[in-house]
């Protein structure tokens, strides 16, 4: 194992950096798209069910199928990193739209009423009141999406673009466990680090949730 | 009868929840356990159906130690009502009520019939039978809780703050209906509340507990108001206990003056054609055509507390008594009332 690590630092590093890129870009795209879409689903009641049902369907579809179907629809090469990014973005958006919508819905209507009564206009109220209150739920969903993405990127190895997944296929072809183990360990560590970062951000940004936890304890 | 013999409850960390409790709750009566938080009333209550085991002592129901019996079978014979109702949200109302009969093996048909009958008894319509708890208001859920406890017709019932989770108006209604129910059923009931007024209103007996799990006094409501055992009980019962104790005495014992006393003179009672009081007229009061309202009248079935209150609110310090048809048949002045109350007090202190 150690020998493998020593001899293949470059390969591992390349795989890892590709993995980070392929995992995080869809997350960012997902956040950017799901916030307005989720908001619209809540703002216009008639959109809620259609949007959420659509999200549900897209989420149910196995990601490998998405990875392969996206190029057929969009018209690009199947064996391209763009597929992974688009497919994972679709998956992340499908997950986060629901989380954003439910997070906003979970804000106590009495609070939003109070805000309006104090003179907040709609946009300011959304940004200053509703989003912060909905943040814990949304950040919880973001953790799930990020960890899932980190795990899913390696499936891209099936089309040759898999970040750490390349280590898995390597190991399988050579019938050799070290790269597989290294790949799994790094993938899990990466997921844990991303998860931890979001938790830290959550603590910084929503300090009131910790206080509530202490009182309840 | 429920008996506590030398019962105490001490938790592993040393907290004494109940201290040397000896108490007897008479059969067929409603005994209310009341006291401030941490006084051990709920712990004591829960020892009756063995949700809590005593550290020392025994709890007996009709002479049989509850510890010797099968836990589950014991509980199926004791009605259990808790504060949050604890209804099963996944079952309909009627299914909730049928829980214990189902446990003891009653046929579904019989159980359902009993359940529907009980629903009407506690003030719910049978149309609600197939609804779910989530569709009911808080007061309605409490009623279901009571019906559920009564379903297997247990001789004993224990109730933990059954009416405190609803607003005061609903609570009053529930209390009144529960009293009516108990008059019909005559079960042996132990009830816990933190509200001394509720205890005095509902209980045949009241057990006042003190912080630390000590029983401070066990007495009838009237006795409790008249003779609190110590400063704690007196303080807990409240300052106007003298006035409140008047609730237990009937106005039938009052001597009233005849109506002729108020048909002439500076203040006159105006009656309608049937003889019902309309109001007062005279110096500083309304005219004969529109007299100042009396503010209310009492019957012989009312309490002295009501009469005293009417005497205070009457515009002329005179209270009118009426019969069942509302026809005035006597008056009493506040001075006469106070003299009679004073005479009554002296009789109680020195019967000779």
């Amino acid at each position: 194992m150690i020998q493998y690590l020593q001899n293949n630092v470059a390969v591992i590093q390349a795989a890892l950096s590709q993995h980070v890129f392929l995992a995080l870009v869809p997350v960012l795209i997902g956040i950017v798209v799901s916030l307005p879409v989720g908001y619209l689903a809540v703002r216009f009641g008639f959109l809620y069910h259609p949007l959420l049902n659509l999200s549900g369907i897209l989420y149910a579809v196995p990601s490998i199928a998405l990875i392969v179907l996206v190029p057929t629809i969009v018209g690009i090469q199947i064996l391209s990193p763009l597929n992974i990014i688009i497919a994972l973005s679709v998956y992340t958006i499908a997950l986060l739209v629901r989380v954003v919508a439910d997070g906003l819905k979970s804000v106590d209507p009495l609070v939003t009423e109070a805000a309006s009564a104090m003179g907040y206009r709609r946009l300011r109220r959304l940004v200053s009141v509703e989003l912060p209150i909905a943040l814990p739920v949304m950040l919880a969903g973001l953790r799930v999406a990020t960890v899932a993405n980190v795990s899913l990127v390696s499936v891209g190895a099936l089309i040759g673009v898999g970040g750490l997944g390349a280590l898995f296929t390597r190991g399988q072809q050579l019938d050799y466990t070290p790269p597989i183990v290294v790949g799994i360990v790094l993938s899990v560590l990466l997921a844990a680090v991303c998860d931890g970062i979001i938790v830290l951000v959550q603590r910084r940004v929503t300090p009131w949730t910790r206080a509530a936890g202490r009182i309840a304890a | 009868m429920i008996t506590f013999e030398g019962v105490s409850k001490v938790y592993p960390d040393g907290t004494v929840a109940v201290e040397q409790l000896d108490m007897e709750l008479p059969t067929g009566e409603l005994t209310v356990l009341v006291g401030p938080s941490g006084c051990g009333k709920t712990t004591s209550l829960r020892m009756i159906n063995r949700m809590v085991t005593p550290t020392t002592g025994r709890v007996l129901i009709d002479g049989v130690d509850v510890a010797g019996q099968d836990e589950a079978l014991l509980r199926r014979g004791i009605g259990y009502v808790i504060q949050a109702a604890g209804l099963f949200p996944h079952r309909t109302i009627v299914e909730n009520i049928m829980t214990v009969p189902a446990l003891v093996g009653t046929s579904k048909k019989t159980a359902r019939a009993t359940a529907v009958e009980l629903m009407e008894r506690v003030g719910l319509t049978s149309a609600m039978a197939d609804r779910y708890p989530v569709q009911l208001s808080g007061g309605q859920q409490q009623r279901v809780g009571v019906a559920r406890a009564l379903a297997a017709d247990p001789p004993v019932m224990i109730m933990d703050e059954p009416f405190s989770a609803v607003d005061p108006i609903v609570r009053e209604g529930l209390q009144a209906e529960f009293l009516r129910l108990q008059r019909d059923l005559g079960k042996t009931i132990a009830m816990v509340t933190h509200d001394i007024d509720e205890a005095i209103k509902l209980g045949d007996n009241v057990a006042v507990f003190q912080e630390g799990g000590r029983l401070a006094q066990f007495a009838t409501p009237r006795e409790l108001l008249a003779n609190p055992a110590d400063d704690f009980v007196a303080g807990f019962v409240g300052r106007d206990r003298g006035f409140r104790s008047l609730s237990f005495d009937s106005a039938a014992s009052l001597d009233v003056a005849p109506l002729s006393e108020v048909t002439t003179g500076p203040e006159q009672l105006v009656l309608d054609q049937a003889g019902r009081p309309l109001g007062w007229t005279g110096a500083g009061l309304g005219s004969t055509a529109s007299p100042t309202p009396t503010g209310g009248a009492f019957q012989t079935t009312d309490s002295l507390r009501l009469v005293t209150d009417l005497a205070i609110t009457s515009p002329v310090g005179v209270v009118v008594r009426v019969d069942e048809d509302g026809v005035a048949d006597g008056v009493i002045r506040h001075t006469s009332l106070m003299q009679q109350l004073e005479a009554r007090r002296r009789r109680e202190v020195d019967p000779a």
Binding site: D102, V144 | I82, T99
Partner: protein
Amino acid sequence: MSDGLLGYLLDPANWQGGGVRASIPELVLTHLWYTVQALVVAAVIALPLGLYIGHTGKGSFIAINAANAGRSLPTLGLIILLVVIMGLGFGPVLIALVILAIPPILTTTYAGIRAVDPAAIDAARGMGMRPLQVLFRVEVPIALPLISSGLRNALLQLVATSTVAAYVGIGGLGRLLIDGLSLNDYGRVVAGAVVVAALAIVLDLLAAGTQRLVVSPGLTGRIPKRQLRRTAPAAPAPALAPADGVAATTSTPETSTPAPASSDRDGASS
């Protein structure tokens, strides 16, 4: 180009059995068989475990964090690792599938049991139900919305993982994807993707329908219209009291917003 890509899917020869290659329906059945096997084994392990941990509170750390940990395991990596260690065949794959399916079932079962209103449990005990009766007549039915959403999650996950597992040589719809990729037959790849996507959607709908049948309407709030005529003042849903810190610590939308598992037609969240 699209004509070529859909060619395999639309060719009737690929839908009839008896040929050299497995037909699409045969692959679907094999795929389902793998999925069901793994789901049953995972459920047999995770359901009792989740019920036990939820009921007693012991070992809650495992239950709370299982879903997170499980989600961070790369599926392809785990499958390949087990195959390299244990050899080819369905056995190692089944083990990998089960390992990946246990966490969502375990965590949501635990969360479901913890979320049951303590008053309902106290009432059940006080009325004379024995511990197992309390568990199966009260706790499990009340926790059923969450438990069933966990099973639904696991089901979808297994459909996806079984597809990927074709890489190590087993059957199922993934075969079309893997073989198609290695033969540059993109028509075959698309066929596999379309059919597996359709299969996943159909199974999700079936799962949602089953949930609706099995979960008491008193829990989901889906009261039949005829009973809604009278507007009773809304009482707070009595059973699903906020779970003690589970929602925060598990960080799964499964507890607050079961994301894939409740996209049912009428939108009531399970």
